[in-house]
Symmetry: C2
């Protein structure tokens, strides 16, 4: 049985929930709040003291993008992680954006409001504007970030864009992003997340 | 022929150079300074207006981690990008760190000194300390970040750690990291980079 260390309002944990739900895998969730993340027991699982962490038998893996790459390689190889080397590279672009700009932009603006994190708001707002512009333009000619189907690029990049309104971003200004997050929410098995735009 | 848009002192471009050199591939480099990155012609290649960008025929790919993932999938599949799904995930952990903490820590401290970037130095120093601690501890029991050989995890994570002294970090405080960057520099074909600790 897969164990997922997460918390209900974590967009990073929700990336893993989306993947597990779409794959039809069973998992149990270990609610892990900020205090629990600072314990030695948790740091033995993840020295970064962050959620999510996935544990499957002896295998322990941190980082939401890494967990998506693992699940894709195990359960949807040559599909969720790219049919060609070119697609593999194109998907990785969005995993990098998810790890850097999407986290350090919209996710931080949300964390300040919801969890009282201390952030550099001006910098986070600038990063947010830049990455939203790039994603909005990218979605002009396509329904999914890479290829003609859902990949882990969509699963990695969408949660903190879908939840950007929690941080004060109006997604009606970014209609293609809003519609894409609704498209993901309309897929069979999508797990509910408070704040995610409803499937259209 | 592969074309690489980069600049001599860019650690992100150097990730690609290392991969291309180790793979024995020929490439031509298009020197792309800050002014060139702001042109419409370059933004058509990369809307983020960043180097590196790799162009191979009709295929255009931005982001150093993405380019490594592409090159691995094309030229060293099941090796540089992991022999198993577990290794794929473990490698992705370090690509995420390269995109986020290693860039927003030691790379920013270096960019402030070398390129006069405006940064939040206190935050960058805190991120640097945290990620250096995690990498140093990880290297206690192993020569390479994942498995028993070089993978794209090492190529992605090492440049801005090797070049951390450019940002005022003393690598003698982090001897395992220093020795690992020397181990990489000792591999056949390693391309020289000003500031990289000499192969031991």
């Amino acid at each position: 049985m897969i164990r997922l260390y997460g918390s209900a309002m974590s967009g990073n944990a929700h990336k893993v929930r989306i993947a597990l739900a779409f794959l039809g895998l069973a998992w149990e969730e270990q609610a892990t709040d900020a205090a629990a993340r600072r314990t030695d027991a948790f740091r033995a699982l993840n020295p970064m003291a962050q959620i999510p962490v996935l544990v499957e038998g002896d295998f322990v893996l941190r980082d939401s993008q890494a967990i998506l790459a693992y699940l894709a390689a195990r359960h949807r190889p040559g599909d969720w992680d790219g049919r060609t080397p070119e697609e593999r590279g194109a998907i990785m672009v969005w995993l990098s954006h998810a790890a850097n700009e999407i986290f350090n932009g919209p996710a931080l603006l949300r964390a300040e409001r919801l969890f009282d994190w201390s952030i550099d708001r001006e910098r986070a707002a600038a990063v947010t504007d830049r990455i939203l512009s790039v994603v909005e333009a990218h979605l002009a000619a396509r329904d999914w970030l890479v290829g003609d189907r859902l990949t882990i690029a969509d699963i990695a990049a969408s949660p903190y864009l879908a939840l950007a309104p929690d941080g004060g971003i109006d997604l009606d200004r970014w209609p293609r992003i809003r519609d894409w997050t609704r498209r993901i929410a309309a897929l069979p098995g999508f797990p509910a997340m408070p704040g995610w735009p409803a499937a259209s």
